[in-house]
Amino acid sequence: MEEAVMNDTKLSSYREWAATPLTGSPRYSVVIPAYNEEWRIVPTIGAIATHMSALGEPWELIVADDGSSDSTVELVDDLGLVNLRLLIAEKNGGKGSAVRRAVLAAKGDIILFADADQSTPIEQFEALADELASGFDVVVGSRAAAGAEVANKSLSRKIFSAGLSLIVRGLFRVSVSDTQCGFKMFTSDAAHLLFRRQLIDEFSFDLEILYLAAKFELKVTEVPVMWIDAPGSKVDAAKVAVEFLRDLLVIRWNDLRGRYEADNHPLGQDDLRVQHVETTYTV
């Protein structure tokens, strides 16, 4: 049905990644949290897999289901991509819990978490990786930094984001202008330091992670990104705003009580709570 007459370098890189198990540790881990994403996740996986495979470094993709009640898990499992690991949660625990499970399971030197809707196109991976290579521990994709391109963002989300930014920068030590963009990159060491201490499982987990990064004096920067609002967003701005304000207090309270001084999620603890369907690497 198809006439193949083009140079397929990019495509052949993808096909090799899709079919050949890694034989060593990956350089990159890309993590996607997924809750009822049957409508959106497969195109996102396709875009990410094509782009990442073309970079020429070993990499893994981790999809962390968050107790989806739709066919997300079956769809992802049926793709048959050998370097995709699917972490299945028995129940919905919040985006923060899904990201944490995946980050702590990630084996890459560099870990990116990206939303399932491709609202921040994966083509911006290199811009963040360049910053990490220049010595930063955490690089945050930002819709608010100078040079960012934001499309189709609703008025309620604009107001919500601006309000959060003011509060966070005014009351917290967090200096980045956009704490909530679902496109963040970490060195492996930084990711494990931060996510093992994470206590918030809901929407505000990003803020907690960045608060902890400041607390532990990690080097954090932000990179302006292109962001396109994807229809079907599960963010209820009003509800989330209330939770966010509550969590601001919770984070400060946790810190005052010394709850971030030691690991809250020692390695392996999360493994007991989830069912893994994963490729076994030969390391």
Binding site: V5, V42, P43, I45, G46, T50, I228
Partner: protein, 106 residues
């Protein structure tokens, strides 16, 4: 997303050349261009996806709807030169088997 329309010199089919991201926000634009092509009398529609870096599920549904409409009219909708990511997305969704896909060199 931008769409340019022209008539294919060989078979007279209408070709819609898409550029940019084809997602739910752009579905109405595509639908309008597609209907204009049908209204022009051609039931052979070519959708050039060489300049499209991403298609979401809504876009895929639009393409399937367009293909079915063309076939109802005894024509067809052909996908032309899908970019690598779009080709992978078509494969992962198994839609590569449903569409007539033509790759053009250059």
């Amino acid at each position: 997303m931008q769409i340019s329309t022209h008539t294919h010199p060989v078979d007279g089919a209408i070709e819609l050349a898409l550029n940019g991201r084809f997602d739910a926000h752009e579905a109405a634009i595509f639908r309008d261009a597609f209907h204009d092509a049908l209204d022009g009398g051609s039931h052979q529609v070519r959708v050039n996806l060489a300049g499209v870096e991403f298609v979401d599920s809504t876009a895929l549904a639009e393409l399937v709807r367009g293909m079915k409409r063309c076939r109802e009219l005894h024509g067809d909708l052909t996908l032309v030169s899908p970019s690598d990511p779009v080709r992978v997305i078509l494969e992962l969704t198994k839609l590569d088997a449903a569409f007539d896909i033509e790759r053009v060199a250059g």
